[in-house]
């Protein structure tokens, strides 16, 4: 059985907050293939196109037949724990702060034997499941858990270093005036978040979702307008030292493109909310969160951007909206690099069309807010970095990987 997670405690005002450190982060270009798989929650390894041999660690040439065509394929996650050990001493600063640390060798059913981080309740000889997870340096590592989950499995401290579990953490949801904001608040609450802070812009414009949020236990609402630098700064001065997961779900969709709907005001509003809004949040909350990346079992861990799938390829029916989302996506990559020293994961959730008022004229499939919220929570629990939510976003991701020109030409509502 896994030791239950201790409840979060109030901060000791005279204890120094540990500075964030990173586990070793050097990887070969081939090994970054593992990072790409871990980022989206896949368990894939190189498999030789000639002889079928599954490779680990990643390499340029097949270890068996010297073939050089090694495509990444999803493989069986099962294996047997052949050996286990507990590290009691480390010269590496990251592990030095965290010993004892359990490691083991897993014989994969797919072939290779791998060194993996071990969940607390894995024992030698046990059947285990492997996963690829991003560690605090943002690189992929192997992680083994019992095939049959034990009690409190999600409380495993080594696993929490690899995930961004909302349990016991304090969350800021930037926009409480949409159905997604409400679904996120409910889902974080169900996932065991300690406190949920929710922002509201233009309070004189009523929103049913916000009224429902106000009625939830454990939720506190604040004025927050991402288009107002003062407003964002004021909230950061109140919450900057508390927020452990920030969810930027700012949203301002208006149909139209560049030629057929030339409207600088609408386009500027989109940029102000999606791009400059993220910039304002990053500039005010970023440093405070980054400084708390190693603040105990409930330290700051994640920054989630809910972005449109059209951030990756422009949908001309929502042309300027797509462009503002692309700007936000680029800035999120910058944020990812800047937050990395604190071990704060920047998660980009790409969503397809939502089933809301502004997508009235868009044919199904459209996403319900609960689906999006559930996927965000799961990504945090499992440690994913990029997620495509819904059939449209998944298809865009696939087609972009296959042929970006094809989807640029053919994208439809």
């Amino acid at each position: 059985m896994t030791t239950p997670l201790p409840p979060p405690r109030k901060k000791d005002p005279v204890a120094r907050t540990r500075a964030p450190t990173q586990p070793p982060g050097n990887r070969s270009r081939e090994a970054q293939g593992l990072t790409a798989m871990a980022a989206v929650g896949r368990f894939a390894l190189q498999c030789c196109a000639d002889c079928g041999q599954v490779q680990y660690p990643p390499r340029q040439i097949c270890g068996q037949c010297l073939g050089d065509d090694l495509p990444w394929r999803d493989v069986d996650t099962s294996g047997t724990l052949l050996a286990e050990t507990k590290l009691h001493h480390a010269n590496d600063l990251f592990f030095r702060d965290r010993v004892p640390w359990r490691l083991g060798v897993v014989g994969m059913d797919a072939g290779p034997s791998v060194v993996a981080h071990l969940a607390e309740d894995c024992r030698q000889g046990d059947r285990v499941n492997l996963s690829l997870n991003l560690d605090r340096s943002g690189h992929a590592v192997m992680n083994a858990r019992p095939e049959t989950p034990g009690p409190n499995q999600e409380d495993d401290m080594q696993l929490r270093e690899l995930s961004m579990d909302p349990k016991g953490r304090r969350v800021l949801i930037v926009n409480g005036k949409t159905a997604l904001g409400l679904a996120l608040a409910r889902s974080f609450k169900a996932a065991g978040s300690r406190e949920i802070f929710v922002g509201q812009a233009e309070p004189w414009k009523a929103a049913p979702a916000f009224e429902a949020i106000k009625a939830l236990d454990g939720v506190t609402t604040f004025p927050l307008d991402v288009t107002d630098t003062d407003s964002v700064g004021e909230l950061a001065s109140v919450l900057g030292g508390k927020v452990e997961i920030l969810v930027n779900n700012s949203y301002h969709l208006r149909p139209g493109g560049a030629v057929d709907r030339m409207d600088m005001n609408v386009s500027r509003e989109e940029m102000d909310i999606h791009y400059f809004g993220l910039l304002r949040l990053a500039g005010t909350f970023g440093a405070a969160m980054r400084g708390r990346g190693a603040d105990g079992a409930h330290g700051a861990c994640a920054w989630v951007n809910v972005l449109s799938a059209y951030a990756q390829v422009n949908n001309p029916a929502f042309g300027t909206y797509s462009a503002s989302q692309a700007a936000a996506r680029s800035l999120a990559q910058c944020l990812r690099a800047e937050m990395a020293p604190g071990g704060i994961r920047v998660v980009n959730a790409y969503v397809g069309p939502l089933d809301d008022e502004w997508h009235q004229m868009v044919p199904p499939p459209k996403l319900g807010p609960d689906t999006v919220a559930a996927r965000v929570i799961r990504a945090l629990q499992q440690g994913h970095e990029d997620l495509a939510i819904g059939a449209v976003a998944e298809e865009i991701a696939e087609r972009l990987a296959e042929n970006p020109k094809e989807i640029e030409r053919e994208i439809k509502l």
């Binding site: 309070p203 004189w204 414009k205 009523a206 307008d225 288009t227 107002d228 630098t229 005001n265």
Partner: protein
């Protein structure tokens, strides 16, 4: 200025006593609400301010800001070109209105009790006539200012007072406006709410009648005023120049009133 001249008398009153200068202007700050339009329509930008420098690495000698806002933000001046009814009139924009029109007498009618009792209160001709019986007729080329104490509502939600049927804020009755123009020749209408029309005026027979008739007759609007309680019913002089924006439909204005009498403690 020549001693004993008209302007020296005026300045003597301002600096030496006898004339009070009252600020009728809201402070421009980011949380000041701007008028709400249906979301598929164009929206007015709210007031926003970004620091250029504050005696720091961005500019060690000075503090200054970049601003953005719509023309109709905070306490502001509505020019006739603002409304479709006034679009073809001469001298109808902030840069072409004769500047002497930015100085005018003001009549102030106190509707604060009625507005407190009913957020949708509408000011009628009967009330004006009763007011005139007490304070004298509205002179030609005067502002009519509707005091409601609405500007005391500092909270944006209470100030805008919106529900699913729109805003609920006091304003002029639709029949009052033509009468004010034809019978009293007012220069414009001013009030404390976010616009010169009542919150529900979009549902009137002529939607937004104060805008429609006032601007259609080359008169002005002066919404989002404050401190109207400091003005006498008759006799104040308003200074209301908008920024000289080319073909501007309005502009935030620092609206001042000159009031005869000593400063009240």
């Amino acid at each position: 200025m020549a001693e004993g001249g008209l302007l020296s008398l005026l300045m003597g009153g301002i600096t030496g006593g006898g004339i009070r200068v009252v600020d009728l202007t809201m402070t421009l700050q980011p949380d000041v609400p701007t008028i709400v339009m249906p979301p598929e329509f164009g929206q007015s930008w709210p007031f926003r301010m970004e620091e250029i420098s504050k005696y720091d690495h961005r500019g060690p000698f000075c503090y200054w800001n970049n601003l953005s806002c719509g023309e109709h933000t905070g306490t502001h001046f509505d020019a006739p070109i603002h409304w479709v009814s006034g679009k073809d009139l001469p001298e109808n924009a902030t840069d072409t209105i004769p500047v002497e029109k930015f100085l005018a007498h003001a009549c102030v009618i106190d509707c604060s009790a009625q507005a407190e009792a009913d957020a949708d209160f509408l000011l009628t001709q009967d009330m004006i006539e009763a007011w005139e019986a007490e304070h004298g007729q509205i002179p030609a080329r005067s502002w009519l200012l509707m005091r409601t104490d609405w500007s005391l509502k500092r909270d944006g939600v209470a100030y805008m007072n919106m529900d699913q049927e729109g805003a609920h804020t006091p304003g002029p009755h639709e029949d009052l406006i033509p009468w004010l123009i034809e019978e009293r020749d007012v220069i414009g209408f001013g009030c404390e709410a976010v616009g010169t029309d009542a919150g529900q005026a979009g549902h009137f027979n002529v939607p937004y009648p104060c805008h429609y008739h006032m601007h259609g007759n080359n008169r002005f609007g002066l919404p989002a005023l404050t401190n109207l309680d400091a003005l006498p019913p008759q006799g104040a002089v308003l200074i209301t120049p908008p920024l000289k924006i080319r073909q501007g439909s309005g502009s935030p204005a620092r609206v001042l009133a000159l009031v005869e009498g000593e400063v009240e403690d």
